[in-house]
C-alpha cells in the first residue's frame, strides 16, 4: 500500500518539476461590440484571416474566427455561446487557422462542427487536426471518375449513374424525398469500402435523431459519421459545418480511401452565410446574398475529387442537397449549385403525388459523368432502359389525345408503364446491383410484358428471392467481374424462364 502511495507522490512531484512556466507574448484585442454571434474587436493588429480567437470569459474560453479585417477593427464570428462575452472582454490571438480534430475514432459518432461529441458516448480522442478550409486538389493529382457509387435506387443507378469522386446535386421542393435518397445511398454502402459522412445543416434535431436511429438499425453507423449543426445552433456553426465535414473526409482521402459526403442542405448553409455576412456589414447582392456566395459553394464542392494512383487513389463523392421553393430551379442558389456540380437529380412534386417514389424526373435529371460510372453489366441493360423510358414519356403525352393507336405504339406504352412501375421503390430498401441487372434484363427482353402492371412488384420480389437461391452463380459473376457475356446472358434467360414456370 505504502509503495503505491509513495509512487503516486513521486509521480506528482515529477510532474510539477517537469512543468515549465514560460511567459509568452500574446496579442490581445478588446471587444468593442457584440451581438447576434458577431464580435467587433479593436487591437489584434497582426491577426490573420480565419484565425481562431480565444475569448476569456468568466465561464471559461469561447472560440471565434476572424472573418473581417478592417482598418482599425476586426470582425469575428463566435463559435458557441456568445452570451458570456461582453464589451471589454479580451480576445487572444491563437496563431492558428481554424482546424477541427479528425480520425478513425469519429466513425459511428454524431458530432458538432467543432468535433465535439453530441451523442453522449463520451469524449472523442483524436490525434490529428485538419484545417477546415483547404485548397482543392489540382489538375495533376486528379483522375477521371470511373468507379460507381451504387445508390441501390433503381431509377438512379440505371439512368443517372453516380461515380466515385463525382458531385451530384439532389434538388427539389420540401418533403419530397431528397434526404431519403441520400440516406438510402448511405445504407447501401455497406460492404462497398466507403466511409460516409452526413452533414446536417440547419435541420431539426428530431429529424436527425430519426435518421441516426434508422442508420443504426441498418448497421450503417459502422462506417458513418454525422456532423450536426442543428436549427437552434448559431449561424456561425451552420456556416462552418460543411467545411468541417469535408476536413474529416479529407483525412480518409489522404489515406487513399473512398468517402461519400452528403450536405443536407446547402440552401440553409447559404442562408446562414447570408446572415453572418449581413451582420458583418458586407454589402448585399442578389436576394441579399453576399457577392461571394458562389465561391462559398464552389470552394466547398471542388474539394470533392478522384485522386490518381500516385496520389493515393482516394475519392470524395459529394451529394449536396438543395431545397427549392415551389419548384423554382432558377433562383439564385439552385442555379449556382447546378452549375458547380456534375449533374443533378431533380425531384418533382407532381410525380411524387402521383405515387412515383422516388419522384425522379428523368428528363431534367442528368449525370455528366454518365455510363463511365457503371459496371459493364449495368451499362448493357441501362442504356436501352434510358432510351425506352424517354420514348415512353414522349408517347404518353402524345397518346392522351387519341385512343386509336397502332400495335407498336401500344406495346411501347405498355412497356413504359412497366418501366415506371419498376422504378418505384420503398424507402430504406436499397437494391443490390446484381438484382437490378436481372430485373432490368427481364423487363427489356419482354419477360414481363405478360405480367399485369399491378402485379409487377410482386413478380419482382419473387424474382429476387428465386435468384438468391437458384441464381447464385449469376449474382456472383456480376458482383465479381461486372461483366455481362454470352454465358451469363444464357444463364439469366434460363433463370427467368424457370422462375416464370414456378408462378
Amino acid at each position: 500500500m505504502s509503495i503505491t502511495k509513495d509512487f503516486i507522490v513521486e509521480q506528482l512531484k515529477q510532474q510539477i518539476a517537469d512543468f515549465k512556466a514560460d511567459v509568452k507574448k500574446q496579442t490581445v484585442g478588446v471587444v468593442t461590440q457584440i451581438g447576434d454571434g458577431i464580435a467587433r474587436i479593436s487591437g489584434l493588429s497582426d491577426c490573420m484571416m480565419s484565425e481562431m480567437l480565444e475569448f476569456k470569459t468568466l465561464k471559461g474560453s469561447v472560440f471565434g474566427v476572424v472573418l473581417n479585417l478592417e482598418e482599425d477593427s476586426v470582425g469575428a464570428i463566435i463559435l458557441g455561446d456568445f452570451t458570456e462575452i461582453k464589451e471589454g472582454t479580451e480576445a487572444f490571438a491563437t496563431r492558428k487557422i481554424l482546424e477541427v480534430p479528425v480520425g478513425e475514432s469519429f466513425i459511428g459518432r454524431v458530432i458538432n462542427p467543432l468535433g465535439e461529441a453530441l451523442d453522449g458516448k463520451g469524449k472523442i480522442e483524436a490525434s490529428k487536426s485538419y484545417p477546415i478550409e483547404k485548397i482543392a486538389p489540382g489538375v495533376i493529382t486528379r483522375q477521371k471518375v470511373r468507379q460507381p457509387v451504387q445508390t441501390g435506387i433503381k431509377a438512379i443507378d440505371a439512368m443517372i449513374p453516380i461515380g466515385r469522386g463525382q458531385r451530384e446535386l439532389i434538388i427539389g421542393d420540401r418533403q419530397i424525398g431528397k434526404t431519403a435518397i441520400a440516406i438510402d445511398t448511405i445504407i447501401n454502402q455497406k460492404g462497398q469500402e466507403m466511409k460516409c459522412i452526413y452533414v446536417a445543416i440547419g435541420q431539426k434535431e428530431s429529424k436527425i435523431a430519426g435518421i441516426v436511429a434508422k442508420l443504426e438499425e441498418a448497421g450503417a453507423m459502422e462506417y458513418t459519421t454525422v456532423v450536426l449543426a442543428g436549427a437552434s445552433d448559431p449561424s456561425s456553426l451552420l456556416y462552418i459545418a460543411p467545411y468541417s465535414g469535408t476536413a474529416l473526409a479529407e483525412y480518409f482521402l489522404d489515406k487513399g480511401e473512398d468517402v461519400l459526403i452528403v450536405y443536407d442542405d446547402l440552401s440553409k448553409h447559404a442562408v446562414a452565410y447570408r446572415e453572418v455576412s449581413l451582420l458583418l456589414r458586407r454589402p448585399p447582392g442578389r436576394e441579399a446574398y453576399p457577392g461571394d456566395v458562389f465561391y462559398l459553394h464552389s470552394r466547398l464542392l471542388e474539394r470533392s475529387c478522384k485522386l490518381s494512383k500516385e496520389y493515393g487513389g482516394g475519392s470524395i463523392t459529394a451529394l449536396p442537397i438543395i431545397e427549392t421553393q415551389a419548384g423554382d430551379v432558377s433562383a439564385y442558389i439552385p442555379t449556382n449549385v447546378i452549375s458547380i456540380t456534375d449533374g443533378q437529380i431533380y425531384l418533382e412534386p407532381d410525380l411524387f403525388y402521383k405515387g412515383n417514389r422516388p419522384a425522379v424526373n428523368a428528363g431534367l435529371s442528368v449525370s455528366r459523368v454518365g455510363s463511365a460510372a457503371q459496371i459493364k453489366a449495368m451499362k448493357k441493360v441501362a442504356g436501352k432502359m434510358r432510351l425506352e423510358a424517354a420514348q415512353y414519356r414522349e408517347l404518353a403525352a402524345f397518346a392522351q389525345f387519341g385512343s386509336d393507336l397502332d400495335a407498336e405504339t401500344r406495346a411501347k406504352l405498355e412497356r413504359g408503364k412497366r418501366i415506371t412501375e419498376i422504378f418505384n421503390q420503398d424507402q430504406y430498401v436499397p437494391l443490390a446491383v446484381a438484382n437490378q441487372v436481372i430485373i432490368f434484363y427481364a423487363l427489356l427482353n419482354g419477360y414481363m410484358d405478360d405480367v399485369a402492371v399491378e402485379k409487377i412488384s410482386e413478380f419482382e420480389q419473387g424474382l429476387y428471392k428465386y435468384a438468391a437461391t437458384s441464381g447464385k452463380e449469376i449474382i456472383n459473376a456480376i458482383n465479381k467481374t461486372g461483366e455481362f457475356d454470352a454465358a451469363v446472358e444464357e444463364n439469366m434467360k434460363s433463370l427467368i424462364n424457370d422462375y416464370k414456370k414456378t408462378l
Binding site: Q15, F19, K25, Q26, T27, V28, S45, D72
Partner: protein
C-alpha cells in the same frame, strides 16, 4: 460626405505639428470652430483618442500598464521599461502601475495590443491543466 473621427484627428494633428504653443492653441481653436460648424462636437472623445494614438506613434511613445500583486521596485520597472523599449523601438515608455491582488504574484505587462502574462495565477492555472491531462 461624412468626415470620420480619424480624418478629423489627422487634420488636427497636421495643423499643430511642429508649431509653437501659441500658434498651436490658435489652430486648436480654429479646429474647434470647424467642429461646431459641422455639428460634430459629439465626436470629440473619439477624435481625442485617435489624436493621442497618432501623437504617440509619431513621437515614439508607448503607453504601458504593469499589474502586480504588491507593487514593483524601481529596478524592476526600469528593467521592464527597457524590455518594452527594445521590442517596440519606442523612444519613451509611459508606465502606469497598478496593484491587483488577484494575480497572487509575478507581473502582467500590457503595451499596445500585446500582453505578457507572468502572473502566478496563470502559471498555477496552466499547471492545473497540464496535471489534469
Amino acid at each position: 460626405m461624412k468626415i470620420t473621427s480619424k480624418q478629423y484627428a489627422i487634420s488636427l494633428f497636421e495643423s499643430v505639428k511642429g508649431k509653437k504653443d501659441k500658434e498651436a492653441s490658435a489652430a486648436v481653436k480654429k479646429f474647434f470652430d470647424v467642429l461646431v460648424a459641422n455639428n460634430q462636437t459629439g465626436q470629440m472623445n473619439k477624435i481625442i483618442d485617435q489624436f493621442l494614438k497618432m501623437w504617440n506613434t509619431e513621437n515614439g511613445i508607448v503607453e504601458s500598464e504593469f499589474f502586480s500583486a504588491q507593487g514593483l521596485d524601481k529596478e524592476t520597472v526600469k528593467l521592464l521599461t527597457g524590455y518594452i523599449a527594445k521590442h517596440t523601438g519606442a523612444k519613451q515608455v509611459i508606465v502606469s502601475q497598478k496593484v491587483d491582488k488577484d494575480i497572487l504574484g509575478g507581473v502582467v505587462i500590457k503595451y499596445e495590443d500585446q500582453i505578457l502574462d507572468g502572473s502566478l495565477k496563470t502559471r498555477l492555472k496552466n499547471l492545473k491543466e497540464q496535471m489534469v491531462k
